[in-house]
Subunit: 577 residues, 2 copies
């Protein structure tokens, strides 16, 4: 309702946000999904009605009839702040006990309490707004993909277990005793079968499941925008889904992105940002300093396999205390650097570093030049005996400096594609090559000969979309040839029997005319969080689970009745305490 | 491509449907998702190309370049039948082994083979058309509900087990050993919590799971269009979702339904059709004949608790053999009638029955009049000592007669609402009252006093949408008062402790200002099947399971690795053979 509705008779229903008594008047803030409306009861008009309004408690559910009127004291902070309702009738539809926390934008409820009473937490408008955003995003995704000829096809939730990759959640089958379904980690193989079946352009917004130890951006169940296309090359997929991203930016955030997203080879992302998902909202690229800083008697650098620095513009004023805190930051076990070297470019252009005794001003100037450091800049340097590990440490330092310098604005977006991923990565734990994406990824045609000679150097037709340092989606061109697929399983250490047992259905399907195909999957939860400016994906999920995988509202999981276990032919065998 | 494209150079990719050699020409039928296009190779233009085309096998994946030309022999049965492609290039993208069945509208593959190679079965255009229909229906459902202010909100798949109702599929939790999640049988309680949270208008197209023994129209996982609204009464829900049905009929089937759907009380549905989901495409209503046929010395009728008949218009010509077959039909164990009585109205208006010796012509005429039977009609009568059971038998007979007389046209649609369901039904097995819909259904206000005195007579604010004898959706107004909800659990035989243990989260939520609410859920699979004219829901599901709950393509479920069982602290205990 707006000012133009003045004089209209209306019926409203909602929750009591607040009741204030002022002289002979009672003011009720009535809340519904669409906002808050002020309702006025006047003792001089209807004393009994006014009295009834005075007995309303917070979160009572009421129905009010009345007339829309212009407010004398307008509230510019509310969309309905120009009007109020002069009440003529009041009906209590349901009472409420006092809620365990306040239903306000900034609540006094802690995380645990909010999760236990999530149905009350969802009444708070910031949380509700996240779910509304999620609805609008999925509507726009479907609108876009439908307009491009994609069919949404549901794939099954009860599939087979594939112990390769993350852990599966499994589901015992009562009708097939001793056997289990698995919940899909993604519909990867099923969407590939849909391509074999000629479906051409498929998508699905679908729940996926991974039984992993949880972090802030992980949930045991999460939602994927899963897509696949046939008769395409990498560039077709990238262009189509970049179009989808731009569509969402425009429709949801009102941001028109006209330029093509940059495409950064994985090797460059690691070299300049130490990450396959660089936050490119700010520059501060790594500069390798091996040539300049090695061989001057500073044994830490002299023995290092990698020395790299970042230049924090205008941060030369950092105090010793701030620098010590940064050193402590990189030395935390989660990051694991041994130490940090810093250098400031002073007002007079001289460079002063924490390792001055080993270096001449000339060398330090050469370093500053290599780093494009100007007067007033701060240089931070890490080194180590494992280049990749040191780059990852430097990445954390760069992100922290970006944060401290206010360069990671949640309302600024920087999008890119990371491309040319390696096909494999070495696993120390398994002592073998593992698929970096998954075993169905197509190697770059020009690298296929290296599968036999140097598999670790083979690059894949794989691509990730990265926004603000978040991997919002990723995909690849797939193998559609059963011989190449078999070779891939061989490199990954599968015996032919094991490959057949686990993925025989897919390799057999490839024998009956599989088209060239590829696709990608977006993480919906992450993307909604990004658009909503959330730090965790939890608040864009209606009923999330906590770090132990528990739904504390439903109190799930829980023990089963013995009868259920018996029907499933299962016994729980807990270790003795 | 159409005739207007003639002269254009095109590139096509797809599967080889057929190759025919005719003189110096080779004709290739190329199939993709959009249809079949004829490609022509001419030996006199390019002998090598023609030769290559002759070596193509069925289901090879090829890319063809060529020019669109008008066909001399047009094929009116194909959308692209006016044109052909004169090939200039041919590239084999992938070969194919000979498929295990023909990829034609009418295939030679049996059910088992088709399911094992479902990815090939999906290439057949009738199956593909079902999935396209399903996509268009869900798009339209979302468009309609979004336009009415509904938010699609995802509810979790890993919830708690509630042994009331059908059996749950359960999921062991590794992080909480000995505890299990359940997969939702429906998001019923969660959508009610969303109403408590003020979400107002919710929907979700969502997978649900029931571990039941399977029939043709049941799958262990199925898809629901799940909806809920607050601050509404039964009529609001019915009108809004009748609007959705009409929207789908119009957009998907091109049928404009202008009349309101009839609303039939459950008691009438049982009385006139012996079913809570009557097929109203044809009339043939039951007529009760107790007053007319009892007490004339025919002991079968004299001892019956119910005698009822149907009048099959124009079927007096049924032979003795046909009538015997009908008698056998109703005597089958699945139906269980003891026998069938029939009567014909002859050309001269006399009624001749199979029990003439007990009845005068006058009584038979009275019967014919009661049944509105005319010359040439056939009357079929069943009786029994349990009225409800006999009505269900008569229902089967009515449906069979409708089928035999061609009254159940798949392209004719008859929609209605069945309303005023009983709140409870007696379970012989459990020896207690069970909820006919579910324990959250609101009793009719005027019947609430009977909860204490005669609960079996209490009617519910529940409604089903029935189309052509299929229950496509159902719902109810819900209880939003924790005291009434507690009473309901008491009547259903829950101790307060057990009710609290299983549904405490919901009853607690009701204490914090639950709004009046209600909703409904449509069975998507059933609705797509209805629009597609299918007999089973299987063919509108991409990857369905068989009657043993198996996915024969994936070979799921299957045994787990011992390592997985160990991590879950589970042991399989199979009974000895």
């Amino acid at each position: 309702m707006r000012l133009s509705d003045a004089g209209r008779d209306v019926t409203l229903a909602g929750w009591v946000q607040r009741v204030r008594k002022m002289g002979g008047m009672t003011f009720l803030d009535l809340r519904d999904r669409y906002g808050i409306t002020q309702v006025v009861f006047d003792n001089s008009t209807d004393a009994a009605l006014n009295e009834a309004a005075n007995h309303l408690g917070r979160e009572y559910v009421v129905q009010v009839k009345g007339t829309v009127a212009e407010r004398t004291a307008k509230n510019p902070n509310m969309p309905t702040g120009d009007i109020e309702i002069l009440a003529t009738e009041l009906k209590v539809l349901n009472a409420s006990e006092v809620p365990p926390f306040t239903i306000e934008d900034d609540t006094d409820g802690g995380d645990d309490l909010r999760m236990r009473y999530r149905y009350l937490d969802l009444r708070r408008s910031p949380v509700r707004a996240n779910l509304e955003l999620r609805h609008r995003m999925t509507m726009e995704v479907r609108r876009y993909l439908d307009s491009k000829g994609f069919l949404e096809i549901e794939t099954p939730m009860l599939v087979g277990s594939t112990p390769e990759g993350a852990r599966d959640f499994v589901v015992p089958s009562r009708m097939n005793p001793g056997q289990f379904y698995a919940l899909p980690q993604s519909p990867q193989t099923l969407k590939q079968l849909l391509m074999v079946s000629g479906m051409d352009r498929y998508f699905q917004i679908v729940k996926c499941f991974r039984d992993e130890d949880l972090r802030a951006d992980r949930q045991p169940e999460f939602t994927q925008i899963d897509c696949e296309m046939s008769f395409i090359e990498q560039n077709d997929v990238i262009e189509l889904f970049e179009g989808m991203a731009k569509h969402l930016f425009k429709e949801i955030r009102g941001i028109e992105l006209t330029e093509a997203f940059p495409r950064m080879p994985w090797a460059d992302a690691m070299k300049y940002y130490g990450s396959d998902k660089p936050d490119t909202r700010f520059d501060m690229k790594f500069v390798e300093l091996m040539d300049i800083l090695k061989g001057h008697g500073f044994s830490v650098f002299d023995n290092a396999a990698y020395i790299g620095g970042i230049c924090a513009k205008g941060a030369a004023g950092y105090t010793r205390k701030q620098l010590d805190a940064l050193t402590d930051f990189v030395k935390r076990p989660q990051i694991g650097a041994k130490g940090m070297v810093y250098a400031r470019v002073g007002e007079d252009g001289t460079v002063k570093s924490s390792v001055d005794k080993f270096y001449t001003q000339e060398t330090l100037q050469a370093m500053a030049k290599a780093m494009d450091a100007q007067i007033g800049d701060l240089i931070l340097i890490l080194s180590g005996d494992d280049a990749m590990r040191t780059r990852k440490q430097l990445c954390e330092l760069r992100l922290e400096m970006g944060r401290q310098l206010g360069l990671r604005d949640k309302n600024k977006f920087s999008c890119l594609w990371v491309v040319d991923f390696p096909m494999f990565e070495w696993s120390d734990e398994e002592q073998r090559l593992m698929a970096m994406h998954h075993p169905f990824t197509h190697p770059k045609d020009e690298d296929i000969p290296m599968l036999d000679t140097d598999p670790a150097a083979v690059r894949a037709d794989a691509y990730d979309m990265v926004i603000n340092g978040v991997e919002v989606g990723g995909g690849s061109i797939r193998i559609h040839d059963s011989a190449l697929q078999a070779k891939m399983f061989e490199i990954l250490g599968f015996t032919p029997e094991k490959a057949q047992e686990q993925f025989g259905f897919l390799m057999n399907a490839f024998k009956y005319g599989a088209p060239p195909h590829g696709g990608l999957a977006y993480g919906l939860d992450r993307w909604v969080s990004l658009f909503a400016g959330l730090d965790s994906i939890r608040d864009c999920i209606a009923f999330p689970k906590n770090n132990s995988g528990r739904d504390v509202m439903l109190d799930a999981p829980a023990a089963l009745d013995q009868k259920q276990l018996d029907e499933l032919k299962l016994e729980v065998v807990l270790p003795e305490e």
